[in-house]
Assembly symmetry: C2
Homo-oligomer: 339 residues x 2
Amino acid sequence: MKILITGGAGFVGARLARTLLARGELDGRRIERLVLADQAPGRPELLADPRVQARVGLLLAQCAALKDEAFDGVFHLASAVSGECEADFDLGLRSNLDSTRALLDALRARVEGGAPPTRLVFSSSVAVYGPDPAVLLPDVVADDTLPAPQTSYGTHKLICEHLVADYTRKGYIDGRAARLMTVTVRPGKPNGAASSFFSGIIREPLAGLPAVLPVDLSVSHPVSSPQRTVDGLIKVYEASREAFQGRTALNLPGLNVTVQQMLDALEAVAGPKVRALVQPQRDERIAGIVANWPRGASAARAERLGLRPEANFEDIIRQYIADQAEQGHTATALKGLQP
Amino acid sequence: MKILITGGAGFVGARLARTLLARGELDGRRIERLVLADQAPGRPELLADPRVQARVGLLLAQCAALKDEAFDGVFHLASAVSGECEADFDLGLRSNLDSTRALLDALRARVEGGAPPTRLVFSSSVAVYGPDPAVLLPDVVADDTLPAPQTSYGTHKLICEHLVADYTRKGYIDGRAARLMTVTVRPGKPNGAASSFFSGIIREPLAGLPAVLPVDLSVSHPVSSPQRTVDGLIKVYEASREAFQGRTALNLPGLNVTVQQMLDALEAVAGPKVRALVQPQRDERIAGIVANWPRGASAARAERLGLRPEANFEDIIRQYIADQAEQGHTATALKGLQP
């Protein structure tokens, strides 16, 4: 089978690609071709696999050609992130709305040409929820909590959820939208996402570097490790339509933790000296955005698919350390520590 | 002040125009110019008013020019209806999504050029609700019930609600979205809307013509008279942002009635012979669409603005008869009846 991952050079996309290549199959069918569409070039270790093909360029520009190319499945992860969308409104509209519409219309053109509908998993986000001042947001947002996004990013994700649902209803795709919790710990440099610090306050201290905490210790948020997130996307792809239930988006499982608990876990895993590298320095812009995010999430529909959140934040930190070790980057602060 | 009504030649748009012209003012300011944008030419009685200017053509084509023209307020009513969107997917996307986006971007361009944000009322619809099979829809949908549209029309309305909210959050417009209940009794011919029969079963018998009832007598639905609908749009325009509460859409008030109650009201107003002109003839396509609509709606936020639904369906029928009489079309079946 032939699979397309948009955003395939990104953090989640590349991990999804690696996981799919290691499995060798999806939904019981052998993966022969994995196409990674992204503005950035694909990761060298992925490109070395003969099944992988990278297509570098704007997704919007790539979509027209997709009308003439059959894919069995698509994971649509490409997206401008929250900070980028707040800074550049047009970029957000183009990257998140126009690109998704072009992708869906390319898949629709195939069906109108007689092909069966392509299965598509759309990565939505916990950022859809809001709340709006008129909406009383529960402490824990559920699959059927009213979304009222307070960022352009969340707005775009919600709009695309509904496009995916309507194209699915019409039989143009077999689409499923899954809301990702905040994925952490992300390696590398901070990105434009307002949630970037959720990774930074773990990643930088583990590398022996100081980190700034821009929000209060009491901030609570649903998070997920990269691997659980990828496992969730695959499970959503493989679910029957009946098991997925309806066409609305579902929440992927998240571990609801406070920043205090995250830092306690960091201390438990790496010691007090590492923990002490995190210094509070409130950033009103980031704190303001995060204040409008849910403090926790539930995931009843995903749990019925067999998905579970991590048991604790220490496990999420250990996954990051193990990933880094696998790539030969032993975290500086951990040199000499027992793994 | 200068006001734009998109869909200004339509049923609700023309009545809104007539009401605004009769009031002479909006939000305490004198109306000097009322622009009616529509694919159809405006109604002659409106065009005779020197304050009125009609612009005939596709809204999408008219939007670019709006960047260079100041309006104090916009009522955005133009839309392809549910039946049209189901029959022609591209038409629906273009008429409902692309046109709204172009309108919002034209207003945004003005703000980016230094103008204050234009106030905009967007007419959304009770059709946003659905339900989706995964969502348990309450018998009465409230302002904060989770929308899960089951038509392209409902999907587009919901998407535009969220665009209006995000452009408002960014300060590009001062937008408010109001969900119209099914407006009845519509004069003239049936249109492409699946809800068209809600008017047909009253309008045709009153004209002495047979009418087909395509759904069961037990079907229940929230309806509103044209005048209450227009009054609701004006009230939403005039509300302060604080009184409107938040940026999510609100429900305009609806009278929750069954088809049985509608026909009983018809008999009470016009007699059993008129009632007998309605013959059941189930239409699976229409019944299937309507089965996914809410059986009733509440409107707590609109009620806090002072808006109320009609007290009974007889009043809605009497409004239609009075409107027809005003235009010299005394309903055939009512000739000789006491008004």
